[in-house]
Every structure is written in structure tokens, then in C-alpha cells.
């Protein structure tokens, strides 16, 4: 949807300084979900509130460039040519405005299937043949101001790249090369999650838009190309059940509200902020609300975490080692907890004052 704010009769600019930096004041977002995906990341971002999609598209964030979003799930057009035109323009270098290329879904291997194809988007106007996703990536990525992989599928391959898959699916960095750089010199930005946590993606996008406006420096990424401030901590470090781990108090089945490491939770070794941030509006999440962490943000997902409901192999040793310490701490804390659950003895209704104050009035 090209959401040119001018068409709604609003006056852009006014007294508020726009894109004060050295960058651009207009950006297209070309979003394809025709990777091997479930479109769950497109759906997920409609849940975002910090910021919401409307906040970005309607230009409610001060200093943000004007955004034209082209996403199949939300596009107001009837589809076909109307929707595809901007993709063809971008591929021809005729867009005239920088664009962020967002890829959703794993990238199949189209070199292994003869005349067939695994996934496509639109037809070639000249030949009538389907244009594969891979052809679109080849055409658009080299011209993109930034390239973003949304969700674990696009980032690292994800569920469709599981052992035994027939399509040879992979992540965008595997396809384009980990040393790929966009026209702005930015590596592929990975925002993993299955699906992506809504606010994590919108916040990453917002950083990039401010960067395009010249207001933000280079986005800080870790060695797996994740935004550092979102994926720098583990699930366990943000989990409100981690206290149980410290006390070696483990759930033995899913009825228990205690630490789930012995029933399948991989939280201690997984980079994700869902336990801190919740799923939306601070609600939901994974081990914090009773759902084992299955490592869905990770490059090794899913194979390295299966079978999901068994104790992680490393977990047995570390939880065993923590048990003597944790059990002692738990016992000591129980004693202290018992003490602090009692009121001080001077709170009473007897005809005497025992608080320690020495009154001067006559008794």
C-alpha cells in the first residue's frame, strides 16, 4: 500500500523538523512473504504496538521518513499488476527513492528441481512464466538500501530447512552470502523469531528508517546479524522463573509454575528477549507463562532443539551441579521468609507501649 500521506489531505511537515539529518525523507518498503513461509511474520507485525504499523505508516514518529509500505497481506489494491508494479520498478532501478527489501520465509534451492519451481511471486509479463522468489532476490537485493530478513525462516532457514526437507531451504545470508552488503553498506539485518516478536521487528525497522533519515548511526548487529539490544541476552536471563533455577526448584511436569529446564526448556542458552518483553503489551511469552523455550529464534532451530519436550542434554549436568547450592539457598531463604512473614512484636493492643519510645507525658 503506497500510503502517501498527502493523498489523505494532510499537510506534511508543518513546524516540526523532518529528517534533519543528511539522509532521505522518503522510503519504500518492498516486502515479499513468498519465501517458504506461513506469512506469520506479516500477521505478527499487525499486533505490534511499540510502535504500531499505523504509527509508522501514518508518520506519527517525529523525524521518520515518509513510508510507502508494499506488503501483500495488507495491500489495499486488488493485487496483480497494481501490487507488482513497484517491484518491477525497483528491479529496473526506476523507483527513484531508496527502498528497504524485507524478505519473509526460507529461501528454497531452485537449482535442484529441473523445470519446476518451489515458490514464486507473480508472472513474467513477457513470458507468462512464474518468477521465482530467488529471481526476485537476485534482482532486488543488489539495489536495496537495506535488506532485512524477518523471522527465523528468512534469517537462518528455520522450520522448512529441517533435516529431511525436500526443497533444500536455507536462510537469506546462506543464499546471498554472509558478507553481502546493501547499497548503504549494511549487512543483511536478521530479526529472528518464529514468528517474529511484533515489537522487535517494528523497532528494528524504525532504527533503519531513522538511519535512512540520517538520524541514527549504523545499526548495531551481532555476529549472526541480529540487533544487539534485542538479542544480546538469553531467555533465562529475563525469565521470571529463573529464581526457581537458582534455588534448584524444577518443574517435573507442565502443571508446575516452576523452572522448566528439566522438561524441555532451552532458555538458558537461547538469545531472545520474549521473557522480558512478553508477546504483546507485556502479555504472554514462553517459559515465563508455561511454554518451554524451543529455541525458535536460533540459527540451529529446529533440529538442534528436538525432541522439544525432552530435557536439553546440557541441562542435566548444570541443573545437577546447581542442586546442592540451590537446595541450601532455598532452605535458608525459607527460614528468612518465615521470619519476615511475622510482624514485629511491639504491634499490639495491650495497655502499654513497647516500641522503644520513652514518652514524657504522665502515665
Amino acid at each position: 500500500m503506497s500510503t502517501d500521506r498527502g493523498m489523505y489531505g494532510q499537510v506534511a511537515g508543518g513546524g516540526v523538523p523532518r529528517a534533519a539529518g543528511s539522509g532521505v525523507d522518503e522510503v519504500h518498503i518492498l516486502w515479499t512473504s513468498e519465501g517458504m513461509s506461513c506469512d506469520g511474520d506479516s500477521v505478527s507485525i499487525t499486533a505490534a504496538m511499540q510502535p504500531s504499523l499505523e504509527d509508522v505508516v501514518l508518520g506519527l514518529l517525529p523525524g521518520l521518513p515518509t513510508v510507502h509500505l508494499h506488503n501483500k497481506v495488507l495491500d489495499p489494491s486488488l493485487g496483480g499488476d497494481e501490487f507488482m508494479r513497484v517491484f518491477h520498478q525497483a528491479a529496473d532501478g526506476a523507483l527513484g527513492v531508496p527502498f528497504v527489501f524485507v524478505v519473509e520465509g526460507s529461501i528454497p534451492n531452485e537449482k535442484i528441481n529441473g523445470d519446476g519451481y518451489w515458490t514464486s511471486m507473480g508472472n513474467d509479463p513477457a513470458t507468462g512464466e512464474p518468477i521465482t522468489l530467488n529471481q526476485w532476490i537476485d534482482r532486488l537485493a543488489p539495489k536495496a538500501w537495506a535488506v532485512v530478513a524477518i523471522g527465523t525462516c528468512a534469517a537462518y532457514g528455520g522450520i522448512h530447512a529441517m533435516a529431511g526437507n525436500p526443497t533444500g531451504a536455507m536462510g537469506l545470508c546462506d543464499y546471498l552470502g554472509w558478507d553481502f552488503r546493501s547499497t548503504a553498506g549494511i549487512p543483511i539485518v536478521n530479526v529472528p523469531g518464529c514468528p517474529v516478536q511484533p515489537d522487535n521487528f517494528m523497532e528494528t525497522l524504525t532504527w533503519l528508517l531513522y538511519q535512512a533519515a540520517g538520524l541514527s548511526p549504523m545499526i548495531p548487529l551481532d555476529d549472526m546479524h541480529r540487533p544487539q539490544w534485542l538479542f544480546g541476552k538469553t531467555v533465562h536471563e529475563g525469565c521470571d522463573r529463573a529464581g526457581y533455577y537458582e534455588q534448584a526448584d524444577f518443574a517435573s511436569d507442565y502443571n508446575s509454575p516452576k523452572c522448566q529446564v528439566k522438561i524441555g526448556c532451552w532458555g538458558p542458552v537461547v538469545n531472545c528477549n520474549v521473557t522480558k518483553r512478553g508477546w504483546m503489551g507485556g502479555i504472554g511469552g514462553c517459559p515465563n507463562v508455561g511454554g518451554i523455550c524451543i529455541g525458535c529464534t536460533m540459527p540451529g532451530f529446529p533440529d538442534k532443539f528436538m525432541p522439544f519436550m525432552d530435557e536439553p542434554p546440557g541441562g542435566a549436568l548444570s541443573s545437577m551441579m546447581t542442586t546442592p547450592y540451590g537446595a541450601l539457598i532455598r532452605r535458608l531463604r525459607q527460614i528468612t521468609n518465615h521470619t519476615v512473614n511475622k510482624e514485629p512484636r511491639w504491634r499490639h493492643n495491650r495497655p502499654e507501649l513497647t516500641t522503644g519510645y520513652n514518652p514524657r507525658w504522665p502515665r
Binding site: S77, G80, F308
Partner: protein, 597 residues
């Protein structure tokens, strides 16, 4: 892409037109048609798909307990429906029940999913086809009339004319569009309370849930549900005003997207008092579901038995990129009741992908197979549709007359829905009556009534869950062992219709797993017997009401017909143009920037 290709066929002057990909749906869909502009009719239409991911292939050999985590990833808008259905199938295979509180938590989560998904699809995707910007482009005379037509329920929803409602549908700027996005977050929060995350849940397990069942959980849900009620109470009469206006203003609009009444519903919301997940008792607990399963043929309720439904499923090829499995292993020759299971049943299917060039001229053109339901009375393989889910659920439930919870009552010819008091409105009752047609308008209308149905049932589930909590029963999970050899099946309603999962376990691993979501039913290509899929025959013969002539044609009536099925195609659909000499090929004009395009 819209490509026009005039073709001479018989005496009619036909123009081939295609739209690929279709927007405002989940997944990849293209439409190829032949249109007779002189007679305002779509004459031909076929369907194909353009993505293959291979779930049934790569699930083989995996731990059966991983099945719901994996299959959730099939769909990014109703993944939780898959996870739930997979848990049902696993429960059967492992021979376990879930604690009653777990069933109520599943039901509350799934009710929130229906409320979320149906309303975001209706208001943010479907109603863009009915918005003022779109109608101005396609039917300016209709818009003029809408300006002059008072909305009958203005006193409830606050919009004076039909055109005022249409303006409120405008994308990103209209009041209803924006409000629906906000409400979609409220209902998704309700969902996350019960199932952890949207859309791939974190807290579901075979045997129950890890959701921590405290009073706070249900309070937090209830507060949001009551808030959402005001939205529903306005939306139902508002939807009625718009849809009735189309019937009145465009006589004959009932023919748009109309097809034979062939509806399937696989049932939703288990009753823990009856459901034990044993196949032998499946008819009984199927009929106890709070949405009744059933098959409707020409308006007649043919069965409400999940065993009949199960045994009747046939997966046909014909236009799909797969090799047949006739010579592959038969996994299940008889069901646990001793009934023979067909070779074309999902339990016995072996998926053998065969990528190849798309051949629209009588060859293979689709990654979607063709599920059909075998009607043993007539021996025919019926191309059932789900009508986007809601219409089939309401229709089977109404005819069966089994559901009666106080909040919802099936009468045999209608469904009564009772909503309690909310902030802006007193108690209200809505009655969904069995419509005359299975068409685009009635599919769309049913959707909002089912939102009300789900909201009403959520109150019932809350009552039941709170009663458990108050009695001190907070168990949500039942331990189990995975047997070496077992079979299981799950039946559920994804938001947009029938959902089944069939699993075979051997040596403690998945030997075969085949999920069948609604879109293969609705969006299937022509099968080996020559029967077209539901999109195809709903669009074929559909009249054109658009005021634009051929040169400015948008195809709005075709889009309304297709979107009424709530296409959800992480497996895609294309429609193909038949034989004909290509005289010219050009791009059609498109919707301008003024409509947000």
C-alpha cells in the same frame, strides 16, 4: 497482474483476465478467468498453487510429540488451530484425556482466535473491497445511492448512511479500519493469556497446557472480553446494513460467488465431560462439541458423525505436481472400529513431490491436491467447501440443533446468540438464520455472526473454568507415554474452515502425518474426475456488476467472491485460462493512488 487477452469461443466474445498475486489474503493466490463482458458474466475459472514446503515429507521419522510445534508453522494466521488439532490427534494416539481445565483453556484460546482472526480479516482485508475509495472506483452509481441510503441500524453503530459506513472502511484512515486493528490486539492479548503467543502458541502440549491457571488469568481475559463486546454489538448490525444494501441496490447480487450448497464443518470446542479422545467414542464426543461437525449437501444435513466424516475423506490428484501413491505402503487398512480405510485417505497417503514446469493447457499446474468427500449414498466425490469457515459452522450447528448453552442455542433453523451487558450496550440477542444461498455475501455475513458466537461461548467457557478454579482443581496437564505403534486423528475448525490431522506412529516415531486445512478444500484444482474446486465453480457463472467497462475493469465482483472464502494459502492458488487464440496481451489500468494503491 491483470492481463487481458480477447479470445473467440463459440459465439461468445470472451476476454481472459488474470490477477496474480491476489493481495489481502494470507499466502499466494492468483486468479485466471475468461469473462463475457457483453453478458456481464465470468465464464471460466481454474485454480493452481505456487508454493511447496513439504511438511508431510520432513515430519517422517520425527518424535511424535514435536508434531504440534511443527505443524503450527504451516499457517501464520491460524497456526494455533493446527497446534490444537495436532494435540487432539496426539491425545488419541497416546490414549489420554486432558484435565477439564485444560480443555476450557484451549476453548478460551481458540474462541479468542476466532474473534481476532475473523474480525481482522473482515474489517482490514475484506471490507477494503466494500470501502468508499474502492466503490468510487468500481461502482460510482452505487456509491451515489449509498450516500442517499440511511443505515437502518444507525442508532446502534452511529453511521447515518451506508456511504458513511463505507468511508469508515477506508484503509488506514477509516474509523472502523483503525478500530478493528486496535481490537485485533485486544483479542490477541486474550489469546496470549491462554496459549502464550500468537500465532505459534508456546504453552500447548499433548495432555494439556502449561498455562498457569490462576484466578488472575481468567480475570484478565474476562475484562478484555467485556471490552470487546461493545465492538461486536455494533459490528453485527453494521455488517447487516452493508450486506442488505448490496442485495437491495444491486438486484441479482446473490449470484456473486454462489455455488451449490456443499458445506463441511469438522466441529470445534471440546466438551471435557464427554470427550475421551477414543476413536471408538468419536461419534459421541464429536456431537458434544460446542460447534457441531457435519456435512451439508443441497441444504440437507447428511451426517454429524466424525467417523463418517473421517472415512469419507479422499485425496485426489489430477492437476497437482505429485506422483500418485497407489503403489506405496498402506499404513491403516481398517480404523479402530473395523471399518475399511481407503487408499486415498490421508492415513494412507504418501506425498511424493514432482516439481515440473507449469502447464496450464491440460497438464499439471498446482502444488495443491484435491481433497473430496465421498458421499456413500450417491457414490460421488463431493468438492465440499467451508465458505470461509463461519457459514459452515453456523449452518451445521443450526441444522443439528444440539448446542444449547444459554449463551448459544441452535434451533434447527437458526442459531441464537446471547451477549451479556457491556459498557455501551445492554444484553443483546442476535439470531443467525439459515440463508437461502451459499454465496459471497452470506459467507461474509456469517463471519461477523460467528465472532458473536465465539464471544458468547467464551463467557460459557469462563464460567466453567472459574468453577474449576473455585473448587480448587487447577490441574492442566496429564502425563503420558508415547506408544511404539499407534494411529491418531484430530478434527477441529481452523478459522476459515475444516481442519484434520492424521498421524501414524511406528517404532515410536512419526511414520506418516497428513494435515488437511481448509484451503486445499476450497482452493483445490480440478481433480482426476474432472470436478473443479470450489473457488473455480463459485467464480464460474458469477455475474459482473462492476460499472467499469472492459477497458477499466478491476474485477471487484470476482475479488469479493474469492475473498469470501477467506483464502489462506501458504499453499497458493492460481486460476487458469483455457484454450483460445491470444489476440493481444496488455496490462489493464489499475486502482489509483486515491484509493491507497
Amino acid at each position: 497482474m491483470v492481463v487481458q487477452t480477447p479470445v473467440e469461443q463459440k459465439a461468445r466474445n470472451l476476454v481472459s483476465m488474470s490477477w496474480d498475486p491476489i493481495t489481502r489474503i494470507v499466502g499466494n493466490l492468483g486468479i485466471y478467468t475468461k469473462i463475457d463482458f457483453d453478458n456481464h458474466e465470468v465464464v471460466e475459472c481454474k485454480s493452481t498453487s505456487s508454493i511447496f514446503r513439504g511438511y508431510s515429507v520432513f515430519m517422517k521419522g520425527k518424535d511424535p510429540r514435536d508434531a504440534h510445534f511443527i505443524t503450527s508453522r504451516i499457517c501464520g494466521i491460524c497456526g494455533d488451530n493446527h497446534a490444537t488439532c495436532s494435540v487432539y490427534a496426539q491425545n488419541m494416539a497416546y490414549g489420554i484425556n486432558m484435565p477439564p481445565l485444560a480443555e476450557w483453556i484451549y476453548n478460551l484460546g481458540e474462541a479468542a482466535e476466532y474473534m481476532f482472526d475473523h474480525s481482522i480479516f473482515q474489517d482490514n482485508l475484506v471490507f477494503v473491497d466494500f470501502c468508499e475509495q474502492m466503490v468510487r472506483e468500481t461502482n460510482p452509481r452505487l456509491l451515489e445511492r449509498a450516500e442517499r441510503t440511511d443505515a437502518p441500524h444507525a442508532n446502534i453503530h452511529g453511521y447515518r448512511t451506508i456511504a458513511d459506513i463505507m468511508r469508515a472502511f477506508n484503509p488506514f484512515t477509516g474509523e472502523i479500519y483503525k478500530e478493528a486493528l486496535v481490537q485485533s490486539r485486544v483479542t490477541r492479548e486474550m489469546f496470549c493469556l491462554m496459549e502464550g503467543r500468537h500465532v505459534h502458541p508456546s504453552t500447548l502440549y499433548p495432555g494439556g497446557t502449561g498455562t498457569v491457571a490462576t484466578p488472575q488469568l481468567f480475570t484478565d481475559y474476562m475484562i478484555r472480553l467485556v471490552r470487546f463486546l461493545d465492538f461486536v454489538k455494533k459490528a453485527v448490525p453494521l455488517n447487516d446494513d452493508v450486506f442488505n444494501f448490496f442485495y437491495e441496490a444491486l438486484p441479482g447480487y446473490e449470484e456473486v460467488g454462489r455455488r451449490r450448497i456443499l458445506l463441511g464443518c469438522w466441529g470445534s470446542f471440546q466438551d471435557p465431560a464427554v470427550c475421551d479422545y477414543r476413536y471408538q467414542n468419536m461419534e459421541k464426543w464429536g456431537r458434544a462439541m460446542f460447534v457441531t461437525p457435519g456435512v451439508i449437501v443441497d441444504g440437507e444435513l447428511v451426517t454429524t458423525s466424525l467417523v463418517d466424516i473421517n472415512l469419507g475423506i479422499r485425496i485426489l490428484l489430477g492437476s497437482s505436481y505429485y506422483d500418485d501413491w497407489e503403489n506405496e505402503e498402506t499404513f491403516v487398512s481398517r480404523d479402530p472400529l473395523g471399518n475399511p480405510v481407503d487408499k486415498r485417505h490421508p492415513w494412507n497417503q504418501t506425498t511424493i513431490p514432482k516439481p515440473q514446469k507449469r502447464d496450464l493447457e491440460g497438464g499439471k499446474y498446482s502444488w495443491v491436491m484435491s481433497p473430496r468427500w465421498y458421499d456413500k449414498r450417491t457414490g460421488s466425490h463431493l468438492a465440499l467447501d467451508t465458505g470461509g469457515g463461519a457459514i459452515a459452522r453456523l449452518w451445521t450447528t443450526a441444522l443439528a440443533g444440539l448446542v444449547d448453552t444459554g449463551y448459544v442455542k441452535a434451533t434447527g433453523r437458526s442459531v441464537e446468540i446471547n451477549l451479556p451487558k457491556s459498557g455501551a450496550f445492554p444484553e443483546m440477542q442476535f439470531e443467525w438464520k439459515i440463508p437461502q444461498w451459499s454465496n459471497a455475501i452470506e459467507r461474509d455475513r456469517a463471519r461477523i455472526y460467528f465472532v458473536a458466537y465465539a464471544a458468547a461461548m467464551a463467557f460459557f467457557f469462563l464460567d466453567k473454568a472459574m468453577a474449576r478454579i473455585r473448587s480448587g482443581d487447577v490441574r492442566t496437564f496429564q502425563e503420558f507415554d508415547v506408544p511404539d505403534e499407534a494411529i491418531g486423528c484430530g478434527f477441529h475448525e481452523a478459522v476459515r474452515g475444516v481442519l484434520s490431522h492424521h498421524m501414524v506412529i511406528r517404532d515410536g516415531k512419526i511414520a506418516n502425518y497428513h494435515p488437511y486445512p481448509p484451503t486445499p478444500w476450497n482452493g483445490s484444482p480440478t481433480d482426476s474426475l474432472g470436478t473443479p474446486g470450489p473457488y473455480e465453480d463459485a467464480v464460474m457463472g458469477s455475474p459482473i456488476f462492476e460499472e467499469n467497462g472492459r477497458d477499466h475493469f478491476k474485477g471487484i465482483d470476482i475479488m469479493r467472491a474469492v475473498r469470501s472464502f477467506d483464502p489462506c494459502l501458504p499453499c497458493g492458488v492460481h486460476m487458469y485460462l483455457g484454450d483460445g487464440q491470444v489476440l493481444e496481451r496488455r496490462h489493464s489500468p489499475t486502482l489509483g493512488v486515491a484509493a491507497g494503491g
